[in-house]
C-alpha cells in the first residue's frame, strides 16, 4: 500500500512539473514569431513596441523543416507569424494553415518591387509576403581558383587542383538543385529517370568534396580550407566582407530563385497585430536592416533604393536587378515527390 502511495506521489510530482513547464511555455506576448536566429534586428521587440505598443516574443528555428514539423503537429497553434522559405509557405497555404494577408492593413506592401508581387507561388501576395530573396551559386577565392568558374560542373566535377577543396549545401532541395541545374533540368523535376541521373552525378561529386556545409562554408573560404563552395548569395557576402578576393557567380546554367517569406497563421488569435507587424517590417527603414546586416537582397524597392552605394560596390550581388534574377525558376512545393527527394538525399549521404 505504502509503495503504491509513493509511486502515486511521484507521478503527481511529475505531473506538477509537467504542468509548470507548460505554464512556462505559455506566453504573455501579443505575438509569437518564429524566425531563423539573427534574421531580424536584435532590438525588433523594443522597436515594434515603441511603434505600436504591442509585445512580441521571438523564438528561433534552425531550419524550415523544424518549424514545419512543429506547425503540422500543433495545427499552427502556439505561433502567430512564421518566417519560412517559399515552398513551405505554399504548403502552409495548401494545408489551410495560412491566414490571407489583409492588404488594406499592410499599406507598406506598396514598397515591394513589382516582381515581388507576381511570384508564381503566390501572385498578389495573398497568403505570404516576401522578406528576402536571391540566388544560389558559386562562391570562390579568386586568388586560389584558376580562371573564372562559370558552370555548376566546376563544382560537381572539379579540376584536380580543386578536389577536396569544395563544399556543397546539404539541405535537400539545394543539394539536388545543383545537380538538376547542371543537367539542364527543372529545379522541381519529378521524373524518376532524370532524378536518377542527378543522383549519380551528385554521388560522384561527393567523392571530391571537402564536406557538406550549410552554415560555415564562407569561413572555410576565408581560412583557405576550401577554394570553391556552393553558396547562397547573401552568405557568400559574409566571406567577401572578410576577404575581398572572395567572389560570387551565378553559373551559366542558371540558379534557383529562393525567397524567404513571412506567413501569418490562421490559428493566430491576434491577426490585426500580425498585419501590423508585417507592415512594420515592410517599412523601408526596417526592411533595409536585413539588407544592411544580413547582406541579403530584400524585395523592398524603397529599402533597396536607400542603401549606401558603397555597400552595393563591396557586395556586387546585392546590386543585381530584380528582373535579372526573378527570371530563374522558383523552388516549388513538390507534393508527394518530396519523399523521393528525401530518399535521394539519404542515398547520396549513405554513398561512399
Amino acid at each position: 500500500m505504502k509503495a503504491k502511495n509513493g509511486l502515486a506521489a511521484g507521478t503527481a510530482a511529475a505531473a506538477l512539473l509537467a504542468a509548470s513547464l507548460a505554464a512556462g511555455a505559455a506566453s504573455a506576448a501579443d505575438l509569437v514569431i518564429s524566425n531563423w536566429d539573427g534574421y531580424m534586428a536584435p532590438d525588433i521587440a523594443d522597436a515594434f513596441k515603441a511603434a505600436t505598443g504591442l509585445e512580441i516574443e521571438v523564438v528561433n528555428h534552425a531550419t524550415n523543416e523544424e518549424v514545419m514539423g512543429k506547425l503540422m503537429a500543433s495545427g499552427g497553434k502556439g505561433y502567430d507569424i512564421v518566417f519560412v522559405s517559399s515552398p513551405f509557405a505554399e504548403i502552409l497555404n495548401g494545408q489551410g494553415l495560412a491566414e490571407p494577408i489583409d492588404a488594406a492593413a499592410v499599406p507598406n506592401l506598396a514598397n515591394l518591387y513589382p516582381e515581388a508581387t507576381t511570384l508564381a507561388y503566390d501572385p498578389g501576395n495573398t497568403f505570404s509576403v516576401p522578406y528576402t530573396w536571391g540566388t544560389t551559386g558559386l562562391c570562390y577565392r579568386s586568388d586560389l581558383v584558376e580562371g573564372t568558374p562559370d558552370s555548376w560542373m566546376n563544382l560537381l566535377q572539379p579540376s584536380d587542383a580543386l578536389k577536396g577543396k569544395t563544399t556543397m549545401l546539404a539541405t535537400d532541395r539545394w543539394l539536388i538543385a545543383a545537380g538538376e541545374l547542371a543537367k539542364g533540368y527543372s529545379v522541381n523535376e519529378t521524373d524518376p529517370a532524370k532524378l536518377d541521373e542527378v543522383k549519380t552525378l551528385l554521388i560522384e561529386a561527393k567523392k571530391t568534396l571537402l564536406a557538406y556545409d550549410d552554415t560555415t562554408f564562407y569561413s572555410k573560404l576565408v581560412s583557405g580550407e576550401a577554394s570553391l563552395v556552393h553558396a547562397w548569395d547573401g552568405w557568400c557576402n559574409y566571406g567577401i566582407g572578410e576577404n575581398a578576393d572572395i567572389k560570387y557567380v551565378v553559373p551559366k546554367e542558371g540558379s534557383d530563385l529562393w525567397i524567404d517569406t513571412i506567413v501569418v497563421l490562421k490559428s493566430s488569435a491576434n491577426k490585426e497585430a500580425a498585419m501590423k507587424f508585417i507592415d512594420f517590417i515592410l517599412d523601408a527603414k526596417n526592411h533595409a536592416w536585413a539588407a544592411e546586416n544580413i547582406l541579403y537582397k530584400v524585395p523592398n524597392k524603397a529599402a533597396m533604393d536607400g542603401l549606401d552605394k558603397a555597400l552595393l560596390e563591396q557586395y556586387p550581388n546585392m546590386a543585381m536587378a530584380p528582373a535579372d534574377f526573378t527570371k530563374y525558376e522558383l523552388l516549388r512545393d513538390l507534393g508527394a515527390a518530396q519523399k523521393d527527394y528525401s530518399r535521394i538525399v539519404s542515398e547520396i549521404k549513405a554513398a561512399n
Binding site: 507521478t11 514545419m68 564536406a211
Partner: protein
C-alpha cells in the same frame, strides 16, 4: 508488511517515477510512431503499417547500420587499448596520487561536448594547428587532409568516451587483490604471464563494461560524424536525426530509433550477463 521491506520501494519511487515519466513513456511514444504512416509534412497519420520496419532492413539503410557498427567497434577497441595501460598505471600509482590522476582523466568532462569536438576541428583542419606546426617544422607538401575523414570521426569518438573506459577498468583493477598477482609470481609466472593469465581475465568485466559503453554511445552518436565527418560519413544517429528534422519522416525515424535501442539493449544484456558470469566465477574461486 515490515517497515524495512517498504522503505527501499519508497526510496526508489521518485527515481522510478522520473524514469517512467521522462524516459519510458517518451520512448514508448516514439516506438508507437513507428507503426503508423508519415504525414507528408511531419507528424503522423494514424494508419497502421509495418512498412517503416521493412525500410530499416532495406540494403541502403542496413549498410548505414553496419557501417556505424564498424565505426563504433573500431572506436571501442581503440579506446580500450589506450585506456587499459592508463588505468593500470593509475591503479599502480601511490594511493595518495590516484585520485589526482583520476581527476585529470575526467577533467575534459568539465567542458561541453560540442566545445571539445570543435577543438578537434581547430586542430585538424587543413589550415589548422597541426598543419601549421608541420609547416613550421619544415614540411612543405600539400597540407594533410585529416578533418572530414572517417579517422577524424573515430578520433573524436575515442577522445570523448575514453574517460569512461579508464574509470571502468580502473574500478576493477583497484579492487583486485594484489595477493593474487603475488601468488602468481611466487608460483613462477613472469610479469607477462601473470598479466595475461591472472590480471587480464579478472579485469575483463571492466574492459567489457567500458567497451560496450563506448560502442553504445558511438553507434547512436550524430554530433561527432556531423562535425568531424563534414556530413560525408553518415552514421545511424545522423539518419535518425535527418528523419526527424529534415526529411520529416517521424515514423521511419522512430523505426530506426527502435532498431538502434534494441541493438543497445541486447549488447547491454550480454555485457551484464558476462559480468555476472565473471563475478560468479570469482565468487566460486574464493569459496574453493
Amino acid at each position: 508488511m515490515s517497515l524495512n521491506a517498504t522503505r527501499p520501494t519508497l526510496l526508489a519511487a521518485p527515481g522510478v517515477a522520473w524514469l517512467v515519466a521522462f524516459m519510458v513513456v517518451p520512448c514508448l511514444l516514439v516506438l508507437s510512431y513507428a507503426f503508423f504512416e508519415r504525414g507528408v509534412w511531419g507528424g503522423v497519420e494514424y494508419t497502421f503499417t509495418l512498412e517503416n520496419f521493412a525500410r530499416v532492413a532495406d540494403p541502403l539503410y542496413a549498410k548505414i547500420f553496419l557501417n556505424s557498427a564498424r565505426i563504433a567497434l573500431t572506436a571501442s577497441v581503440l579506446a580500450i587499448l589506450i585506456a587499459y595501460p592508463a588505468a593500470y598505471a593509475i591503479s599502480r600509482a601511490p594511493r595518495m596520487t590516484q585520485p589526482v590522476l583520476l581527476f585529470f582523466a575526467v577533467l575534459p568532462f568539465w567542458s561541453n561536448y560540442l566545445i571539445r569536438t570543435y577543438a578537434w576541428i581547430v586542430l585538424l583542419n587543413r589550415e589548422g594547428l597541426v598543419n601549421n606546426l608541420l609547416r613550421k617544422l619544415g614540411y612543405t607538401g600539400e597540407p594533410l587532409s585529416m578533418l572530414y575523414t572517417e579517422g577524424a570521426v573515430i578520433t573524436g569518438l575515442v577522445y570523448n568516451y575514453l574517460p569512461f573506459v579508464i574509470l571502468a577498468i580502473y574500478s576493477v583493477l583497484s579492487r583486485l587483490n594484489p595477493e593474487l598477482m603475488e601468488a602468481s609470481r611466487d608460483l613462477g609466472a613472469g610479469p607477462v604471464r601473470t598479466f595475461l593469465r591472472v590480471t587480464l581475465p579478472l579485469t575483463l568485466p571492466g574492459v567489457a563494461a567500458g567497451g560496450v559503453f563506448v560502442f553504445v554511445l558511438s553507434i547512436g552518436n550524430f554530433v561527432t560524424p556531423a562535425l568531424l565527418g563534414g556530413g560525408r560519413f553518415q552514421m545511424v544517429g545522423n539518419l535518425v536525426y535527418d528523419q526527424f528534422l529534415t526529411a520529416n519522416d517521424w515514423p521511419f525515424g522512430a523505426a530506426l530509433g527502435a532498431a538502434l535501442i534494441a541493438t543497445m539493449i541486447v549488447l547491454l544484456l550480454i555485457q551484464a550477463r558476462a559480468t555476472a558470469h565473471a563475478s560468479g566465477e570469482r565468487a566460486g574461486e574464493t569459496r574453493e
